[in-house]
Symmetry: C2
Amino acid sequence: MRISAKADYAVRAMAELAAIAPGQPLKAESLAASQDIPRNFLDNILSELRASGLVRTLRGPEGGSMLARPAAEITVAEVLRAVEGPLAAVRGTRPEALEYPGAATRLPEVWVAVRANLRGVLERVTLADLAAGKLPADIARLAKDPDAWLPH
Amino acid sequence: MRISAKADYAVRAMAELAAIAPGQPLKAESLAASQDIPRNFLDNILSELRASGLVRTLRGPEGGSMLARPAAEITVAEVLRAVEGPLAAVRGTRPEALEYPGAATRLPEVWVAVRANLRGVLERVTLADLAAGKLPADIARLAKDPDAWLPH
DNA sequence: CATGAAGTCGACTAGAACGATCGACAACAT
DNA sequence: ATGTTGTCGATCGTTCTAGTCGACTTCATG
């Protein structure tokens, strides 16, 4: 699984928005600075997040961006889907729509299992978790296993 | 996670090779036909699989490709790594090497947890499993959950 | 009510990756 | 020796990535 720069920036920006008082706008400028995101590129990303209804913005001086919903209700998976489509796709197709001949017949089930496991993490971590620095217990456990930190 | 055409083809080709008698070569031609893979593109893929030591080939008439090791010892993860680098990468970097400022501090742990879950499936399904049409029990269970088949 | 500090939006671009295609060459069973 | 098969590198059009840029719209404030 390849997390693009855009997706990475999007999650970090959202985490930063989750960390400030709800309803208070944060300027794109500060956001860019605090997470070290290229300013112009961040504009594009915020635009997509706004189009997906995850972010609201205020124009004018004193303007900026804020979360459209409580941070505890927005998952990392939602943010990723907003900026790159579906979490899992095989050759551009959803795994459940695939059909393979011969020896690969059961391969779609493997892809579906992968996606289920992916969701198991990404749909359970919220922006509030990130902002508070507290991950769900079993995710933290998964991440704590030294084996999980080995390259490869 | 986006599975590219190349990765998809590679796994299917390997599954097909796993299905024939060990040590017996299968022609690229038949392989391409049986899994409906563009012939020339398959050449490239087989080349990479050979370079990674997963496949051996015999030239000349009666030539073809075969697995370099028993099908039960080759996992789907190995095949994927052979044709697309590491299973998980964030902006081209391994998740364990990342460091984020501010509210995103714990994000790397999320990426590591994702990768661990990914491995949990991909490193446990072997080519022999695919060829025999029998997935490990808990993978099959994961894939059986109707929720896992919902889009999104 | 004029300013100017902010967001909005679409166009643009350089470079890489993707998904192949092709042709010249090497090996080897018959 | 022949012809079938694999080997390998070059090439190629398209799409994606990661941005940049600039004209335009809002709107809080003085």
